[in-house]
């Protein structure tokens, strides 16, 4: 019994350490200068180069701000659009409902890399390259696909009686949505938040090809500046990634409970 207990816990610990490793490695390396990194791969090297963080901040502050703005705007738009659409698809019947919903869901099948090139060409034709719009609008459109799917599933799983009683009290349409549907859907909104944010925050390819103006760059493509020709400046670059992941970490810590409740609600089904 003891043995199994020990085995169980240590397995888990090993897996956790291995999973956490990249994060730790990023952190340790962010304090090194290049010669230090060449000589000590794993272990922290002294003196610590705190200047890396200063350099990284100078470079990344603007990108961080842009990332927050872009991801934040996208998230808000997606939440708004998807909750409305999901609610409508779930709780109303009208002609073409199945067709329209199907039209939304089948887009899930289209992987991003397929539409990369044509969407880029569209942006070029619209003259949207190197703007903030190009980073927000396509993500909103793409993000709402997954979000609508999730929200609709969730709304559909709410028992009808709750709505009946509200309707008897005279509530209708918008009120049902705002005062009953949304509050109930908080867990799933949490899931959408996290899924959507992860998708937009860490996305590299799209900003990379559409935004070449460093004023408007976001974190992922902006940090590539450090990966310059003659061996990148690793220290500041990694310091930059650490700084860049902070907002996400903060968000995660805030939202994990809600997120987990949303997933556990069992409303994710295929």
């Amino acid at each position: 019994m003891r043995l199994r207990f020990f085995f169980h816990r240590s397995m888990l610990a090993v897996l956790a350490i291995l999973t956490f490793f990249p994060f730790v490695f990023l952190f340790i390396t962010s304090f090194k200068s290049l010669p230090q990194f060449y000589r000590h791969f794993w272990i922290p090297a002294f003196p610590l180069h705190l200047k890396n963080y200063v350099d990284a901040w100078d470079e990344i502050a603007n990108y961080l701000s842009n990332s927050i703005m872009v991801s934040g705007a996208t998230l808000v738009a997606v939440l708004a659009l998807a909750s409305v659409a999901g609610f409508i698809f779930a709780r109303y019947s009208f002609p073409g409902r199945k067709l329209l919903f199907g039209a939304v869901v089948c887009l899930l099948l289209v992987p991003g890399s397929l539409t990369l090139v044509p969407t880029f060409m569209l942006m070029k034709d619209l003259d949207w390259l190197n703007t903030y719009r190009v980073l927000i609008v396509p993500f909103v459109s793409g993000g709402q696909v997954v979000a609508i799917f999730l929200m609709r599933n969730y709304f559909a799983s709410i028992p009808e009686d709750l709505f009946e009683s509200a309707r008897i009290d005279g509530a209708s349409g918008w009120r049902l949505f705002l005062h009953l549907g949304l509050p109930l859907a908080k867990p799933m909104l949490g899931v959408v938040c996290i899924v959507n944010l992860l998708g937009t925050w860490n996305n590299f390819i799209w900003p990379f090809v559409t935004v070449t103006d460093s004023n408007k760059s976001v974190v992922t493509n902006g940090l590539m500046i450090f990966n310059s020709q003659y061996v990148g400046r690793l220290g500041p670059m990694f310091a930059g990634y650490i700084i860049a992941s902070l907002p996400l970490v903060i968000l995660f810590l805030m939202m994990t409970r809600t997120f987990m409740r949303g997933i556990t609600s069992g409303a994710i089904k295929v």
Partner: protein, 315 residues
Amino acid sequence: MSPTSGRASERLGLAERMWKNRLLYLCLVPTFTLLLIFNYYPALSAFQKAFYRYDVGTKAEFIGLSHLLRLVRDPVIWKSAGNLLKLGLFGLAAGLIPPLIAAELIFHLRSERWRYYSRVIFVIPMVVPGVAISLIWRFMYGDAGPVSAFLELIGAESLIRGWLSDPHTVLYAIMFVGFPFITGLNLLIYYSGLANIPDSILDAAKIDGAGILSTIFRVHLPFLMSPARILSIMTVIAVVQGFERILIITGAGEGTGGGPGYASMVPGLYMYYQAFSFKRMGYACAIGLAMFVVLLVITMLQMKYMRSETEYVPE
């Protein structure tokens, strides 16, 4: 608006029903406008451009099936497809099994607090951007990197290769990135499946004296089918989609993305190069079209094996 009034409503004409629900349609307009412009239009225009020679800066020229023919005869495409298949299979295994193991391990912990903390610990690393992970692993595969150093340590020196320069090892090197493959999201989805198992069943199994392993296989597994299905679809889409990792690992620094040669090339990356490096938009779109068709077929097959409706359906 007519919500869920059941069969009581009369059989109204189609146009009349649509008019009755006009507000609903109105609310859906923003959603569908966006979808039409930014999802449907690009996809459809790409399919159209696949039949043109369209290099940036020159005029488009209709050339019919020429691109598709060239595609079929292009050895790079077949090689990439093969690579993608290998990556897909491995990716599927990596996305389905390790998170499950971790989920089970956590599920069997005694205290609720530790179960919560453990989940958080596995979820946090999701914040590290994919780009950073790729760069880190690229270092790991260098001559002076830990992978080779480790092999030297355990005396397996003869196994050491230039991992990313050797056409035979590069694909496997890429597959191995992300070890131990416990993605927070996957873990949570599995865990939710486990958490939804009714206590009564768990208790019954315990009373019957079932051992841990047999409990897992006979009792848990049925409840894990649904999460597994979702994860498999998500994983397949992610693998087909993700060429960014290959681009950075084999391309950043000194190598050619998808290299050496075409040893780690995948269709998505090939398409990227055709479009952005060589500006052959037409051919790139042809590749995209082919990929879409293949993916559609695969997904339809996948969907056929999955049918489960347990939610509220108004009508």
